[in-house]
């Protein structure tokens, strides 16, 4: 989740009220943010990903002031379009859409420039999905000659000096040499044409979603008016994102001007800050929340969250991108009502609890084995070929991960006995006898095509006894005792098993169904692989 740090003084000025620290913390938490820290100077909060409109000081202050008072819907005036932006055919297959605006009359102090950069960065990461879904560019208007064209060029023909670079570069050089290119270059890699904004002087303003030009794309303290563009693949997404940015700029004292976007298929105008409308049923709200709100309450609570309301219709601010269903308004109402004010209640209808049958059986097995003095272990499901196969002198296939971080944890276990040997191997310095067991899932290929994933998971039990006197009798006694108490018939037939001494391993049949293997001892080669110098006997069965 994105974390933003706000200047407390500035925030209080925007809110129009200074709250004591404890109350401020409490209210911010109940508005729906994760509080990191509040000091006299700064407020640090985490913004939930559904509220990118609160990523700016202005956006958060707007939501907060409304939450602690009742402001209702804030209207943002928008001046009619005088400037034009032309979207050209070639950009269609690269990064097809842009939504743009002009904001005039902001006094850019050092602090303010930092704020604008912060908004841009936070929005890139969260709402913009690391610039993939939306990238934002902000430019000093006085350096630009209108109209601007949004088009795409072969990378070699794109030449300009990008921000933070000392010289002119072409499109490919930016990708390979510029820090922004190296970080986000994958978004353009392999494309024949790269998108660019070009002004009427044929100056390249930027190459989205990567970098602005040093000449026309850097805001400084002399800047008053700015051109703002958002580029990406979904016009609605971009338009909402643009609305979030221009409203924050308007809260800094800016005046919003619409722009005409000339798409090949027709004209559009952005930004459009007219609230959009959604139906909301009072009965639905009360049924979901367990409240008995009146229509007047509804209007008040919606107002607290910045919405307008009239006769079953809600006016949603144009910067709220997260309202996609009336339940989203239900949540806003719950927040306005105050989570702390809900009275908890238990349903009257009783239901019967029911434990999973296999889990019940596992509990019973554990009880029996613990009664024999065995210790239960709990190991990882993700292990490796070395432990599961090579150290066991066994062959076969494991279910592997395709993006493991380490070789040590790269495959899923198919047997539990190797996991127990790993535990014994790690506990060589402890006293003997060591008698352990584990129950859990193992992962196998589903050869019968029964499961939806093609992988079969089985629940296994493994027991290992490690002791100078560990022999076949002692492990068989554990198996027989367990089978007797769980009322099963057990039979063991001789078999060859690569991990055991030849002639001392057997296949276990429970109620005539093959269920696992048992043996004395794990072969000296296996024990040497695990660096164990104490005999180990064991069995593993399917539960």
């Amino acid at each position: 989740m994105p974390t933003v740090t706000l200047n407390r003084k500035e925030f209080e000025k925007l809110v129009g009220k200074a709250l004591p620290t404890e109350e401020l913390k409490d209210r911010l938490a109940y508005l729906g943010t994760d509080l990191d820290e509040v000091t006299d100077k700064d407020i640090t909060v985490e913004i939930f990903p559904n509220r990118p409109d609160m990523l700016s000081e202005q956006g958060l202050a707007r939501a907060f002031s409304s939450f602690i008072g009742v402001k209702g819907l804030v209207q943002y005036p928008v001046k009619a379009a005088t400037e034009r932006l032309i979207i050209e055919e070639p950009v269609k297959n690269v990064r097809p859409y842009t939504a743009c605006a002009i904001v005039k009359g902001i006094s850019f102090t050092d602090e303010r420039i930092r704020e604008v950069i912060q908004i841009q960065e936070k929005m890139h990461v969260s709402y913009g999905r690391n610039r993939k879904k939306m990238a934002i560019g902000i430019y000093p208007l006085e350096k630009i000659k209108m109209p601007i064209r949004y088009t795409a060029l072969p990378p070699k023909e794109i030449r300009f000096r990008p921000l933070e670079a000392s010289r002119e570069m072409d499109g490919l050089q930016i990708l390979s040499q510029h820090p922004a290119g190296r970080e986000y270059g994958h978004l353009l890699e392999g494309k024949e044409l790269f998108p660019v904004f070009i002004d009427a002087n044929d100056e390249i303003l930027s190459m989205p979603p990567l970098i602005n030009s040093e000449k026309t794309g850097r805001i400084n303290e002399q800047t008053k008016d700015v051109f703002v563009e958002c580029s990406g693949f979904d016009f609605t997404v971009l338009h909402r994102g643009l609305n979030m940015i221009v409203t924050a700029l308007a809260d800094m004292g800016g005046e919003i001007h619409q722009m005409t976007l000339a798409y090949p298929e027709g004209k559009k105008k952005t930004p459009d800050l007219k609230p959009w409308e959604m139906d909301l049923s009072l009965a639905y709200v009360n049924r979901r929340l367990g409240l008995e709100l009146s229509e007047k309450d509804l209007k008040e609570h919606l107002g607290r969250m910045g919405h307008g309301y009239q006769k079953g219709r809600v006016q949603v601010p144009a910067y709220r991108a997260d309202i996609i269903h009336q339940v989203d308004l239900v949540e806003d109402i719950a927040i306005a009502y105050g989570y702390e004010n809900f009275v908890a209640e238990m349903p009257k209808t009783p239901t019967l609890g029911e434990e999973n049958a296999r889990e019940k059986q596992k509990d019973r097995i554990a009880e029996i084995l613990v009664g024999l003095g065995l210790l239960e272990t709990s190991t990882y499901h993700i292990t490796n070929k070395e432990d599961q196969l090579r150290k066991m002198e066994a062959k076969g296939e494991l279910i592997e991960l395709s993006n493991a971080l380490t070789i040590e944890h790269s495959s899923l276990r198919r047997e539990l006995l190797p996991m127990l040997l790993a535990v014994l191997s790690r506990n060589r310095h402890n006293e003997y006898p060591q008698r352990i067991f584990e129950m859990g899932s193992v992962f196998l290929e589903d050869k019968d095509g029964v499961t939806e994933t093609g992988i079969r998971e089985e629940e296994h039990l493994a027991v290992a006894l490690c002791d100078a006197k560990a022999d076949y009798t002692s492990i068989r006694q554990v198996l027989d005792y367990l089978m007797m108490l769980t009322d099963r018939e057990v039979m063991v037939k001789p078999c060859e098993h690569p991990s055991f001494i030849p002639g001392r391993a057997g296949r276990i049949f429970i109620d005539t169904v093959e269920a696992g293997f048992i043996g004395e001892q794990l072969s000296p080669a296996v024990l040497a692989n695990w660096e164990l110098d104490m005999p180990v006997v064991g069995f593993e069965i399917k539960i």
């Binding site: 269903h325 989203d328 209640e345 994933t453």
Partner: protein
């Protein structure tokens, strides 16, 4: 304690040692006088000391002993002396010196360094290295060196006793390999206390019984005898028994709570398609949580199959389908949904329950405890495998207030008196709430888990109707924190 009582409580070993204490005052002589083993004497003395019968004074001192090379050199002379002796008459190559003085390669190298430092030899580098003795070397050869004098001492030698020249020789030899070693010697001096003296003077009756044997019981020989009194306040060596793993103990306790609240336990596989883990839960396909770095993917088989309900799920993602939602927009990718992954949260099982529930079965209450997986590197704070517990209530008559009711009841049973619920965000619940418990020791609110009411975009495609589904997911590590407080 009275003297008689003390006497009756004496262990047989104490009884054996006690008479010798009047004449013997250290552990070594007690061992030889009593004929007991060292451990027996030491244990008896320790017990007697615990009862204030004796005073123990344990002195530790360091002594110097000859190590492997030291013993050899004491017998055959120091290598540097043998080196000089070999070239006394004429200069020789290094090999020849080695043969004549019986020195190994390492020893030769040590000698060259040492002797050059003392200006005892000259070396000449030709095809092979040759060494010749100097005048100074001859003097050294004729004289007994400090090191040689040191080796002639009687060992073990108390380290404290080394003075001046011997100390210098000790330092020199200590630098060289395996000539000397230092051992710590412990001497235990024993003195009887006043009570001890009186006790030692007493005639100790020997007819107290030590342990009760089956023979005594059969023959009745215990009659009329007294048993030795034990010191029942002593600490005994610890033993360990069989027990369940502590994580499973916690899981058992949590399961019991949900079972008591009328929930049914669910189980499911750990490998699942992304469809059930994320798409069915209405998590958008470009959600940051779905970025590769958080999820473990399966190499083979890479993809699984989709259930028939996939089309409804696709529609709800793209347009909202028939749920009254606008959906996430964009195109929903079927191939992405088919990818096999290790489950990233237990909530997928709740989606499966919804898909398998018929509206006429309601209300349905289920929960699950499951291992879930995140692709993070392992360190003390991050585990790539951990347990989650989650549950749902599918009931047309429940509200947000019932969600709070369940959570409060559960956490009260867990031992949290103070629980608060705050706004939160999860892609599949609306309203969403974070549950926090007040830690009575740390005096702060601690995150316990997430909860909410499932979004209609999740419920309707799977269940067929839109009814409230209360849902929560909690990590079990947090619960342990409280239970073990």
């Amino acid at each position: 304690m009275k003297l008689e009582e003390l006497a009756q409580g004496l262990h047989p070993l104490e009884r054996k040692v006690l008479p010798f204490l009047r004449t013997h005052h250290d552990a070594v002589s007690l061992i030889s006088a009593s004929g007991l083993k060292e451990v027996e004497v030491i244990r008896a003395l320790q017990w007697l000391s615990n009862k204030d019968i004796v005073l123990l004074d344990i002195a530790r001192k360091k002594v110097v002993e000859l190590d492997r090379n030291g013993t050899l050199y004491k017998e055959n002379g120091l290598p540097e002396k043998r080196f000089l002796a070999a070239i006394q008459k004429k200069s020789l190559s290094l090999d020849a010196i080695g043969r004549s003085a019986g020195l190994g390669k390492d020893e030769l190298n040590v000698c060259i360094g040492l002797l050059k430092r003392k200006a005892a030899i000259d070396t000449k580098k030709g095809k092979v290295l040759t060494c010749s003795i100097t005048e100074n070397g001859k003097k050294i050869l004729a004289k007994e060196t400090l090191e040689e004098r040191f080796l002639k001492q009687e060992f073990p030698l108390p380290l404290d006793s080394l003075q001046d020249e011997l100390r210098f020789a000790f330092d020199e030899l200590s630098r060289r390999r395996q000539i000397l070693r230092i051992r710590e010697e412990k001497t235990t001096n024993v003195r009887l206390t006043e009570a001890g003296k009186r006790l030692a003077a007493m005639e100790l009756t020997s007819d107290v019984l030590e342990s009760l044997t089956p023979g005594m019981l059969k023959q009745g020989t215990w009659k009329g005898k007294t048993f030795r009194k034990y010191d029942v306040s002593i600490n005994v060596p610890s033993i360990s028994g069989g027990r369940r793993h502590f994580v499973n103990q916690t899981i058992r306790a949590i399961k019991d709570l949900w079972l008591e609240l009328g929930f049914k336990e669910m189980k499911g596989p750990h490998i699942m398609t992304e469809f059930w883990d994320l798409d069915a839960l209405f998590v958008p396909q470009d959600h940051p949580a779905r970025y590769e770095q958080d999820t473990f993917f399966i190499k083979k088989p890479k993809q699984g199959s989709l259930p028939p309900v996939w089309k409804k799920v696709r529609d709800v993602h793209e347009t909202g389908g028939d749920t009254g939602s606008r959906g996430w927009g964009g195109r929903w990718d079927r191939d992405q949904a088919r990818q096999n992954i290790l489950i990233t949260h237990d909530t997928y099982l709740s989606a499966k329950v919804l898909a398998e529930t018929r509206p006429e079965d309601l209300p349905v209450k289920t929960f699950q405890v499951m291992k879930v997986f995140r692709n993070e590197s392992l360190d003390w704070k991050h585990l790539f495998e951990f347990y989650q517990v989650g549950g749902i209530v599918i009931d047309p008559d429940v509200t947000f207030r019932h969600l709070l009711g369940y959570l409060r009841t559960f956490f009260r049973k867990m031992g949290f008196e103070k629980v608060r619920i705050r706004p939160a965000h999860f892609p599949y619940t609306e309203p969403s709430a974070e549950v926090e418990g007040f830690h009575p020791v740390k005096k702060q609110w601690i995150e316990l888990g997430g909860s909410g009411i499932f979004r209609p975009e999740l419920v309707k495609p799977l269940l067929g109707i839109d009814v409230p589904v209360l849902a929560w997911g909690l990590g079990i590590e947090r619960h342990r924190l409280f239970r073990h407080r």
